[in-house]
């Protein structure tokens, strides 16, 4: 089939940013048996639809945007039915062995006149399941960590203020929807489904890289914290499940299914991604290429990720806390011992503060390698640059006064590590960080360089600079006022002196004009003659 079926209220010029991620693909592989008949509701990334199209004998996709539907229809010519429109127009379909709605229910309804509530859509999905059928349902948490922690910019409906005015800020349907994982499970139980597992999805509601069963959050705290910088206190307070950016439930009609994985982790971006399951304190690799992954000078050995899950605080976590508390002695101590360790261990360029345990100074992730040796001082420069960039980009508190930019703080941290760095070393560290980040991520090196040079953005920097300049201006104006007051005083003094001089002169003139003076001059003239002419 090459044309999607139109069911009503199609959105002709609309495309949704789909939900996606390697852990979700892995979850689908775990949950949906090969050969199943599946209903896929809502926008899902192609790497998810590919997995489903491969496994299913019959796949029905429903999306609201016509461009999305057309793309799907063109991609899967056989055994895939693509329907476009508002989900409430679908009528009775099924039964299906599985219903997949990882994006949740909010983007199932379109710009038609009638907007069904969450509960009504849940009824429809549940009704489409065959006995024993399995439902995969996502729900974004409107109070999730992605909205609470600095530096975790999120997109999608109901997301940060910066999205206001964009397509993604399309208003959510009205009505009540579950607000906790417990309410979500209760809602499914009411519809005759038995929950097999409920996962918290981190760090992003629509692109999670870590899924952890909400009853086992504590056992997988390291994976959550690594994916979600700053999540440690939340997890330690026992709020990891309640504040997960999204919840994803696996539920079955009638019977309770087999045991699902406790935690799935997608580690690395793009070509570098390694998916593993965490179980019993260890890791089991699920999806890897054959042999080490390699690109340019960078390579990754997935086998290094198998084995026990590392625990403990990273140096970056402790340093962030020390910076927020302005605990300078602790910062000096941490930096000095870290720099000493880098010198002693023949440092890997991946021994950055976010990848080194604070106490043991062991690498958290040993899978990365670089094909040329890097001097310890350069590793330190890269690590400090990376740390400072994140600190400033996340807008965290730190002890350095206003006006100290990224370079100045990097310089200060080098000095606190007793490894003072010249501008060339700072620059080399910045370039190494930009290069490695460009290779491991998806952002080109030039954009990385811009971000590293201005981590807190031009506006913030300009505002700080303006504040400093304003203070300097005030200070100079005060000095100018003082100088002018001095000048005025001196002018006044001068005027007084001049007045006195004039008064004296006029007195003198008056004396000279007086009869007694003239008489005196006349009387003394003979004596002056006798002494000879004046001058």
């Amino acid at each position: 089939m090459t044309e999607p079926g139109l069911i009503g209220a199609e959105m002709l010029e609309w495309s949704d940013e789909p939900v996606g991620g390697d852990v979700l693909a892995e979850l689908i592989r775990h949950v949906i048996a090969p050969g199943a008949r599946v209903l896929l509701a809502g926008p899902h990334a192609t790497h998810l639809t590919d997995v489903l199209a491969d496994r299913c004998t019959e796949l029905t996709c429903v999306v609201r945007g016509l461009p999305d539907a057309t793309e799907l229809a063109a991609r899967y010519p056989e055994h895939v039915t693509v329907l476009c429109g508002s989900f409430d127009k679908l009528g009775d379909v099924g039964p299906f062995d599985a219903v997949v709605a990882l994006d949740g229910l909010d983007r199932l309804t379109s710009a038609g006149g009638y907007v069904p509530a969450w509960g009504e859509l849940a009824d429809r999905l549940a009704a489409a399941l065959a006995p024993g059928g399995v439902l995969l349902l996502g729900l974004a948490n409107r109070l999730g960590l992605h909205r609470l922690l600095p530096g975790l910019a999120a997109q999608g409906p109901g997301q940060p203020r910066s999205d206001v005015g964009t397509d993604a800020a399309w208003p959510l349907p009205d009505g009540v929807r579950p607000a906790t994982p417990g309410q979500m499970l209760a809602a499914l139980t009411e519809r005759g489904l038995a929950a097999g597992a409920c996962y918290g999805g981190y760090p992003h509601p629509y692109r999670p890289s870590v899924l952890v069963d909400i009853t086992a959050i504590g056992r997988h705290a390291t994976a959550i914290v690594r994916a979600t910088g700053g999540a440690r206190p939340v997890v330690e307070a026992g709020l990891g499940a309640q504040l997960a950016p999204a919840w994803i439930v696996v539920a079955q009609r009638g019977v309770r299914g087999p045991g699902w994985p406790e935690a799935l982790v997608a580690d690395g971006l793009g070509r570098w991604c390694v998916v593993y399951e965490e179980r019993g304190g260890g890791r089991r690799l699920l999806r890897t290429g054959t042999g080490p992954l390699r690109h340019g000078p960078l390579s990754r050995d997935p086998a290094a990720l198998a084995g026990p899950v590392p625990g403990g605080f990273t140096l970056a976590e402790v340093m962030v806390a020390a910076c927020e508390d302005a605990d300078l002695p602790l910062i000096r101590e941490l930096m000095a011992s870290y720099a000493g360790w880098l010198d002693a261990c023949g440092a890997s360029p991946f021994a950055t503060m976010d990848n080194v345990l604070a106490v043991e100074h062991a690498l958290v992730d040993t899978s990365w390698s670089w094909d040329r040796p890097v001097a310890a001082e350069l590793v330190l420069a890269r690590a400090i640059r990376r740390f400072v960039t994140r600190l400033l980009a996340e807008g965290r508190r730190h002890p350095w006064p206003r006006g100290y930019g990224a370079d100045a703080i990097c310089g200060a941290l080098h000095a606190m590590a007793a490894r003072p760095a010249d501008p060339a070393t700072l620059e080399a560290g910045l370039r190494l960080e930009a290069e490695i980040t460009a290779l491991t991520g998806s952002v080109p090196i030039d954009e990385n360089l811009v971000h590293l040079r201005r981590p807190d953005g031009d506006l913030k920097q300009a505002r700080d600079r303006a504040a400093v300049l304003e203070e300097q201006r005030r200070w100079l104006m005060k000095r100018l006022d003082k100088t002018e007051a001095n000048l005025r005083k001196r002018s006044a003094d001068l005027a007084t002196t001049r007045d006195q001089l004039n008064a004296t002169k006029s007195t003198l003139r008056a004396v000279r004009r007086s009869t007694s003076f003239k008489l005196g001059r006349a009387l003394t003239r003979p004596f002056r003659r006798a002494r000879g002419p004046r001058r």
């Binding site: 300078l328 000096r332 006064p401 206003r402 080098h414 000095a415 300049l469 300097q472 200070w475």
Partner: protein, 262 residues
């Protein structure tokens, strides 16, 4: 002092990009006439000053410890000698403030309290005032002055702190009528402290500094004829940021001494 710590010329030290706290007080670390510029970094002695300063609306502090603490760290043994008697610092007015107090009453109290010989260290203004100086000399005290404060970077006594250290290290006790910088310096230099006598309140001081009892209420443990020296030492170490000294490289980076501003 800081330039010497950084291995730079301490006779003509480079200019610091920012303001360094120069004396102890119970508020934000700066004098009430000192126009501290909001945008400039303020390098202060201790976390305690930072907290009090923050409460007084001051920002952009960075704790480096007191220059005195750097001096002691650099010169742990300099001029050490057998200790005897008391060095007494009558609380001084300064260029812009008037003192309201009776030196005679103070002299009588010192004589009644101090067991050994007494050296009185006067502020340069009082030292240059023969009538005040004569009162203390007449009481049999040795009268000294550590040096001229200087004005606009001219005439400042560069050896001031060294002279003060020399004097403190030859005395057993350090005393004053108010809790002042000199008491903290003396305690760190190994003297036993004492704070007693007519406190000679400054007239017309800025109300932002609180009432006259505030200093004593902040550290009551240090007030008295013979406070516990161990407690005093702990408080002095905290107030002077002894455990918060920055290394030479860190100071150079902070003060922008590598790439001078101008």
């Amino acid at each position: 002092m800081l330039a010497r710590h950084c291995g730079l010329d301490d006779i003509r030290p480079p200019r610091i990009w920012g303001t360094v706290q120069h004396g102890w007080n119970h508020v934000h670390g700066f004098g009430f006439q000192h126009a501290v510029i909001d945008g400039f970094p303020k390098f202060v002695w201790s976390q305690a000053v930072l907290r009090r300063g923050w409460a007084a609306g001051m920002r952009d502090y960075y704790v480096i410890g007191a220059p005195w603490a750097y001096l002691l760290a650099m010169e742990p043994e300099l001029l050490a000698q057998p200790r005897e008697g008391t060095i007494w610092y009558p609380f001084h007015g300064f260029e812009g403030a008037m003192l309201d107090g009776a030196h005679e009453r103070l002299i009588a109290e010192i004589k009644a309290t101090e067991p050994g010989p007494v050296t009185v260290c006067l502020y340069w203004m009082e030292y240059r005032e023969p009538s005040i100086r004569a009162k203390y000399e007449a009481a049999g005290f040795r009268v000294i002055c550590h040096g001229y404060r200087g004005r606009k970077w001219k005439g400042t006594e560069p050896e001031f702190l060294y002279r003060q250290l020399a004097e403190l290290r030859r005395h057993k006790r350090v005393a004053a009528n108010r809790l002042t910088t000199a008491i903290f310096y003396g305690v760190l230099a190994g003297c036993e402290p004492a704070v007693y006598g007519d406190p000679m309140w400054l007239v017309g001081i800025n109300p932002g500094y609180g009432d006259n009892g505030r200093v004593a209420r902040l550290h009551p443990e240090l007030v008295g004829v013979a406070p516990d020296p161990a407690v005093a030492r702990a408080i002095a170490a905290e107030e002077l940021g002894v455990d918060r000294l920055a290394g030479p490289a860190e100071l150079r980076a902070l003060f922008n001494w590598e790439t001078p501003h101008d």
